[in-house]
Amino acid sequence: MPAMSLRNRDRGGGRPRRALPAALALALAALLAGATPAWAAAQPEPVNEFVPIDELPEEDRLPAAPFLITAYSIVWILAFGYFWLLSRRQADVERDLAELARRRPVPDDDDDPLEAA
C-alpha cells in the first residue's frame, strides 16, 4: 500500500545518499595516492647551489611573466580581500548598533544605568 512503499523508497533512497560522501572521499584518496608519485616526480630538483640568472643556460630559464602576474595578482587579491572583510564586519557592527538603538534609545553618559527608565 502507498504508505509502506513510500517508507521502502525512503529507506532505499537514504542509504546511497549517506554512502555518497564516503565514496567521494575514498575516490579522492585513491586519486591523490595514485597522483602523488607523478606530482612528486614533477617537483624541481633540489638546488645545492644558487646560480644567478645570467649564468643559467637559456633553456633553464623560466618565463618570468606568469610569476610576475601571479605576484601582482596576489597583492591585489589580499588587499581587496581585506577591504571586503573590513566592510563586512563594519556592516555587522552597524547593524547591531542600529538594532540596539531601535530597542532602546542610546543612553547618555551621565544617566545612571541603574535608575528606572
Binding site: 624541481p44 610576475l68 605576484a71 563594519q90 543612553p107 544605568p113
Partner: protein
C-alpha cells in the same frame, strides 16, 4: 556612523585609483633589470610591502607599550589593527618573495635574511592574533606583551639569521636599485603607504565601533 563610512569609502576609492595609476606606470616605464630581467619588477611591490610590514610592527609594538603602561584602550585598538596589517602585508611579502626567488634562483625558498626575518615576524604576529582570538579574557594585555617582545626582537633576529645565513652558500635576492628605477619604486612605496594608512584607519574605526557596541551592550545588560 554613515558619515564615517561615507568619508572612508571616498578615501579608499582615491587610494585604489592611485594604485591603479601606479601599476601600468611602472610596468611600462621602468627599465629591465640587467641580471634578472622582467621578474625583478616584482621588487616594486615586494619591497614596499616589506616596508609596510615593518611599519605595522612598530606601530603595534609602540601602541602595545602604551597600552601596557598607560592603560589607554585606544592604544590597544590601534595595536590590534596594526597587527592585522602586519600579518596582511607579511603575507603579501612572503608570497611575492618566493615567486621572485623561483625565477631568479630556481628555488622557492633561499633562506634570504629578509625573507626569513619576515617569516619569523609573520609567525609572531599570527601568534598575536591567535592569542587575541582564543586566549579569552585578559588576552589584550598578554598580546600587548607579545607585540612588545616581537618588536624588540627584530634586530636580534636579523643579526642571528644574517650570520647563520653567511655560513650557508646563498646570496641576497634583493638587488640594489639603479637610478632609473628609483622613481617608480618610491612612488610605489608612497602608494602602499597611503593604502596602509587607509587600512589602519578603517580597521581602527571598526575596533572603536565594536568597543562602543560592547559598551552599550553592557550598559543595557546592567539595566535589565
Amino acid at each position: 556612523m554613515t558619515r564615517m563610512t561615507g568619508r572612508w569609502s571616498i578615501v579608499r576609492l582615491a587610494v585604489a585609483a592611485v594604485m591603479f595609476a601606479v601599476a601600468p606606470l611602472l610596468i611600462a616605464q621602468a627599465p629591465y633589470e640587467a641580471t634578472m630581467g622582467l621578474v625583478a619588477k616584482i621588487v616594486y611591490f615586494h619591497v614596499p610591502v616589506w616596508f609596510m610590514m615593518f611599519l605595522a610592527i612598530f606601530v603595534c609594538g609602540i601602541s602595545s607599550g602604551i597600552y601596557l603602561f598607560r592603560e589607554r584602550p585606544a592604544a590597544d585598538r590601534l595595536a590590534v589593527s596594526a597587527a592585522e596589517l602586519a600579518v596582511l602585508f607579511g603575507a603579501m611579502g612572503l608570497t611575492t618573495g618566493p615567486l621572485w626567488a623561483r625565477v631568479s634562483w630556481g628555488a622557492w625558498w633561499v633562506w634570504d635574511v629578509r625573507l626569513t626575518l619576515a617569516l619569523i615576524l609573520e609567525m609572531t604576529f599570527v601568534a598575536y592574533l591567535l592569542l587575541r582570538k582564543y586566549g579569552g579574557p585578559g588576552s589584550d594585555k598578554l598580546s600587548a606583551g607579545l607585540a612588545l617582545f616581537g618588536m624588540f626582537n627584530v634586530p636580534i633576529v636579523y643579526v642571528s639569521v644574517n650570520v647563520w645565513r653567511t655560513l650557508h652558500p646563498s646570496t641576497t635576492v634583493v638587488p640594489t636599485l639603479g637610478a632609473s628605477m628609483a622613481g617608480p619604486f618610491w612612488w610605489c612605496v608612497l602608494a602602499f603607504l597611503a593604502l596602509f594608512l587607509v587600512m589602519l584607519e578603517g580597521r581602527r574605526r571598526l575596533a572603536d565601533q565594536e568597543a562602543e557596541l560592547d559598551r552599550l551592550r553592557l550598559a543595557y545588560d546592567e539595566e535589565y
